[in-house]
Symmetry: C2
Subunit: 143 residues, 2 copies
DNA sequence: TTGAAAATGCAACTCGGTTGCATTTGAGCC
DNA sequence: GGCTCAAATGCAACCGAGTTGCATTTTCAA
């Protein structure tokens, strides 16, 4: 049993979820990736070690997002990306997405300026803040 | 000819685009809406005055975004929304989207804190900043 | 008026994601 | 070890947003 599998099981059980093989595999695959992958890319990664249907992946992602273990973000292409929710930290972080290769990377926590409730009309409640910077990554710029 | 139609024609010609009936209709419908609609909602609105195919709408939206007349934003549901690009102003503005009714509204220009190139890894170029606050709007909160 | 280019419509398609339902798995119990 | 039942998974069919290819219509210049 690898460390990452142990971590994955710990987070699942801590959230009151059964540590099934696919859930562990999803968390391991996600932790091993340096960015926030689209569903298809994550599915490919998981399948290198575990058989998994795409429906199971989507249901697993829903579950893990619901449990607060993962975060879901919208890409510029309209497809969802998922990344590990930083444990114990609640300052939102933004993402950078390359318009050429589509890779989405996590950024450090945002300055609190985005807490900007001042911008909002009265009577609304904010549950989630999404900040995405779109541009060209270093790799694509050179290639 | 209404004022909004005149405005629409002006913006189109200023951008070097032909002021065709559907383009004018799209701009008028968009200017009349108090929020940034999804394509289907915009199509419904346009069709109250003009016959239009959905493909034509999508192509028109592409064109107007390309020309800088409209801005395209990604909703929490992954569908695109469009709003008028504020003329002559280039500070990005964010959006609030209600997670219940899905309505996306434009916010005032963002504090410059988001210019946060400091957050970025070296070698990347930012072309577009997307800020979206998700929550519950006043109307949905009461209803 | 006419001819070419641009704009539009229509049909079929892609892609990300979801739903319904049958089957398998696995934790708890004997 | 073998049961049992709920939860987890797989499979097929589906849905909605957006796209592509191509035929038709409109528009503008000559």
């Amino acid at each position: 049993m690898t460390d990452s599998a142990t971590d994955a099981r710990a987070r699942l059980e801590q959230a009151g979820l059964e540590a099934t093989p696919r859930r562990v595999a999803v968390l391991e695959a996600l932790a091993a990736l340096p960015h926030a992958p689209a569903a298809q890319e994550l599915l490919d990664a998981v399948r290198r070690t575990t058989r998994m249907d795409k429906v199971t992946l989507y249901r697993t992602l829903d579950l893990l997002v619901e449990a607060g273990i993962l975060q879901r973000h919208t890409g510029a292409d309209g497809a969802f990306r998922h990344c590990m929710a930083p444990a114990g930290e609640n300052a939102p972080h933004g993402h950078f997405q390359c318009t050429r290769c589509g890779v989405m990377t996590c950024l450090p926590p945002l300055p609190e300026a985005l807490d900007a409730a001042a911008l909002l009309p009265a009577g609304v409640t904010v549950e989630h803040v999404e900040v995405r910077l779109d541009g060209v990554c270093g790799r694509c710029r050179q290639g």
